[in-house]
Symmetry: D3
Subunit: 190 residues, 6 copies
C-alpha cells in the first residue's frame, strides 16, 4: 500500500542493516519506518541520528513517556497514521497506561494527564500548528510548571522533528506494522 516499495534488508548498507537487526531483535519485528526510509541511506542516517539525539537524550527534563505523548498528540493533529499507531504503542508501554494513547490522539484536553503535561502538550500543539505565533508568554506558561528552557527546546524539537516524520509518512503512504496496534494494551503474559 506504500507508494515507495520497501527495500530488501539484504541490499542495504551494512551499518543500516546492523541497526535494523538490533531493532528487530529488541522489538520482535522491523517497524516499517526503518525500511521505508532506508531506500535513501544518507537520509536514513540523518533521520535516525536526529531521532536518537532527541529521544535518547539523557539529561532531558522530559520523561521518555512524555516525549512519546508529544509525538502521539501532534501526529494525530497531522493525521499521520504511522506515527499515531507506532508511537501510541510506545507511549502505552512507557507510561504503563493502556488508555492514554487513544485519549491524547483523540483529544488531549480530555486525557488523563497532569496539568504540567497538559501545558507541555499545549505548547507542542502550538509549535505544530501555529509556530509563527509563539510568544514569550508561551515560555512563561511552561516555566510556571517547572520546565527549563532546555526542556522547552526538547518539546519544540520533538514536535518539529515528528512533523517532518508525519509528512514523510503521509507522502509515502507508510503503514504501521500490525503489531503496533495491540502493544501495551494488555498485560504481558509471563
Amino acid at each position: 500500500m506504500t507508494r515507495y516499495a520497501l527495500p530488501d534488508l539484504n541490499t542495504l548498507p551494512a551499518d543500516i542493516q546492523t541497526k535494523i537487526l538490533e531493532v528487530q531483535e529488541k522489538s520482535g519485528f522491523i517497524p516499517n519506518v526503518f525500511l521505508a526510509l532506508a531506500r535513501r541511506p544518507a537520509e536514513w542516517r540523518a533521520f535516525f541520528a536526529y531521532h536518537d539525539a532527541l529521544m535518547l537524550r539523557e539529561e532531558s527534563g522530559l520523561s521518555k513517556g512524555e516525549r512519546e505523548m508529544i509525538i502521539t498528540t501532534t501526529s494525530a493533529a497531522n493525521h499521520c497514521l504511522y506515527c499515531v499507531v507506532a508511537h501510541g504503542a510506545i507511549l502505552r508501554i512507557y507510561e504503563k497506561k493502556p488508555l492514554l494513547a487513544d485519549q491524547v490522539a483523540t483529544n488531549y484536553r480530555k486525557a488523563d494527564i497532569t496539568p504540567r503535561q497538559r501545558a507541555m502538550l499545549d505548547f507542542a500543539m502550538k509549535v505544530c500548528q501555529h509556530s509563527d505565533e509563539l510568544a514569550d508568554a508561551d515560555f512563561t506558561a511552561l516555566h510556571a510548571h517547572g520546565f527549563s528552557d532546555e526542556d522547552i527546546w526538547d518539546i519544540g524539537a520533538i514536535t518539529a522533528f515528528f512533523g517532518l516524520s508525519n509528512r514523510m509518512a503521509n507522502m509515502s503512504n507508510m503503514m504501521p506494522n500490525p503489531e503496533f496496534y495491540l502493544l501495551g494494551r494488555v498485560p504481558k503474559q509471563k
Copy 2:
C-alpha cells in the same frame, strides 16, 4: 533577540567549528542557523547531515534553484522569517532572478516560473499544509510534468525537512543575518 543565546564558536566541537569556518569562508559571514543549533551538537550534526543529503544530492531531477524555490515558498506559508530571507537570497543567486524570491514568498501563484515549477510548488504546499490529504492524483499531476517518483520524494522531503527548520526558527526566534536581505538583488561588482 533570539530566545537561546548563540554559543561562542570557539567552544564548539572541532568538527562543527571546521564546517562553520568553511561556510564563513565561502559566504563571508556565518549564517545564524549554524550557531543557533550548535548548542546541541548531536542535533546540529543530524540537521546538517539531513540538509546536505537533500540539498546536495547530485542525481536529483530538481535543480538547486528549484529546491530553494520549494524552501522559500513553504517557509513563507509557515511565516518563518529566517528561512524566507536566507533561502530567498540563495534562490535569487541560483536562479539569477532578483525578483523571484519576493514573488514566491508573497504568492507563488503569481511568480514568474514555469508550469512544471508551479506544479512542483502546488505539491510542496500540500505536503506543507495538508499532507494527510495527499492522494495518487497528486503524484499523477507531477508525473505529467516529467517528475519521477524520486523527484517527488525530493519535493516532499525538502518541504518536510524545512518544516522542521521553520518550527525550530520560530520557536527559538532565530533572526536572519542582515547580509541575506540584499544578496542576489544587485549584480556583482567587479
Copy 3:
C-alpha cells in the same frame, strides 16, 4: 471526571432502568452514555429512539459495520473521545477488523476500506464539516457506487445524529468506559 454526576441506576424511571439492564446484560457493563443522559429522562428516551431508528434500521443499504465506520470517522473529526473509543470498539467487532477503527479515526483516507466505503466517508465528512456546501454532485458520486437516496439519507442522518452526540459528550466531559478500549482487538478466548 464528567461535569455532570451520573445518576444512580435505581433512581431512574422503570423503562430506562429496564433498557439499561438489558444493555448491561448484553455488554457486560453499562456504557456511560446510558447513565450520563439519563438525568434527563425525556431527552434520554428521544436520544435512544433516534439512535435505534438509525442504527437498527433493517432495510438500510449500509451494513452495521459501515454505520459504525461513519460514526468513528466523524466523531474523530469532532474530537469526541467517548464516541471514538466506544464506536471504534463496535466497529472492530462488526467488521472483525481489529485495525480498522484506529485507521479511520486517524485518517480515513488511509484506511483499509473499499472505494465504496471511501465515498461514503467522504460524504459523511462533508455533512459533518461543511454541510452548507453539499451539492447534487455529492449525491451523484454516491449513486455511482450504488448507494440509493435512502442510503444517502442514512449516511447523512447518522452523521448528523452523532454530531449531536459528540457535542453532548464534549460538553459534559463524558468519558468512555475502560472496557471499550480493548474490545475487538484480540480474538475472543473460548
Copy 4:
C-alpha cells in the same frame, strides 16, 4: 427544490397526522420540517420528542425567546437556511423584537441583547464550532451571569440538537415556508 419529495399528509401514520394538523391549526400552515422528516416515521417521532423535551421544558432558566436566539445564531453559523428563517421568525415573535433575528444571524456580537445573553451565545457558538475545546472556564463564565449547570446543559443540548437539524436540512435541501420570512416583522393587525 428539496432533494427528497415531501410525503402526502394523508399517507402518514395517524399520530404524525394528528400532530401535524395541530401545528397547522396553530400556525396557519405546515412548516416544511414536519413533512420533510415524516418520510421516516420513527426518526420523525424521535426528532420531535427530542425537540419538545428541550424547547418545551418548563423548569429551564432560559426563556423561550433565548432558546430561539441560540437556534438562530448557531444555525446561521451552520448556514442552514431553513432554521435561520423559521426560528428567526419564532424568535421575533417570542421576543417581540422585529430586528433581533437578522442581527443574531448576521453577527450576534452586534445584536441588541443583554450581556447575559451574549455570554449564552458565546457558549453556544463554542459548542457549535469547537466543542472539543470546551473547558471549565467556559462554565465559570456562564455561572458569573447566573446560569446554573442545568441551564448550561440546555444551551449545549439545544445547540447540539439543532446542529443535527441544520445538517438534515442542508443535506435534504429543505426550504423554509414563505410564510416564515415575514412573521413577527410587522405588528399584528386587529
Copy 5:
C-alpha cells in the same frame, strides 16, 4: 451604539449636506452610512464617488439587482450587519423578490437564483475570501455564462469595495437604520 458619534447634518460641508438631503428625500430617511462616514469629508467624497462609479455604471452587464446580490452575499460572509440589512433591503426592492436577501445572506448556494447568478456569486465569494487563489479558470467559468471581462471587473470591484465598507462598518459599529429591515418585504400599500 456606534463607536464614533454621528455628526450633526448642519455642521457638514455644503456638498455633503446636499447629497444627504437628496438621499433623505428619496428614501424617507438618512441611511446611517451617510452620516457615519461624513465626519471625514474627504473620505466621504471618495467613498461615495467610488460607490456611484460602480453602482450607477450604465454600461454594466450586471443588473442593479445583481450588484446588490453580490453585496448582500459577500457582506454576510464578512458578518457586516449594516450592509446585509441595508443592501438586502435594496436587493428585495430591485429584484421584487421579498425572500431573496435572506436566502443569499444565509446560504447563497440555496438561493432562488439563475445558474448565471450562482456563477457570479461563486466568483464574488472567491474575491472576498481567497483573492490570492483567483486563476484563469475562474474567468473561463464566468465567460461560459456570458459575462464579459468588463462584467467580471464589476463583480470583483463591487466585492472589493464593499469589503472595505464591511470593515469600516464593523470597526465603527455602524448600525443599520430600523427602516431597512422591513423594506421590500411587503407589497407597497397604495
Copy 6:
C-alpha cells in the same frame, strides 16, 4: 501578465494624465497601479482621492512610515504581490530601515518595531481578517499605547482601503514594477 491590458497614457483623460506624469517625474517610473486602474477613469479618481485622503492626512497620529507598515503587513496576509512589493519599498524609504519590509511581510510578530507599532499591527490584522470580532477591548489596547480614536480610524481605514486594493490587484493580476523590488534596500549613491 496582467489580465486587463494597461491603457496608453496618451488616451487617458487630461486630469489623470497630469497626475500620472507628476508621479512619474517624482518616482522615475509609473507604478503599474496608476495605469491598471485608469481604464475606468471614474473609479481611478475615487481610488486615488480615497488613497490621498488617508495617506496624506496631515493631522494623523500615525507617521507615514507606520501607514506603510500597515499596508505591507495586511497586504502580505492577503497575498497581494503588487502591494507587498510596492508599499514594502515605500516603507523602507520612509523608515530608513532596509530590512523592515521583509520582516513585517513574513511575520510582523518578529519585526524590529516598537510595542506601540506591534499593537497597531495586531489591530490592523484583526480588521483585515476578522473585522466581525472587533470589540471594545481592541480599542482599549490601542488607547493604552497612546492611540486616539482618530488614529484607530486611520489604522482601520487604511487596512480596509488596501484590502480593496489587494483584491483588485489579485483579480487583475497586477504586477509590481521591477523598480520597486530594490528601492530602499541600498544607500543612495551621491
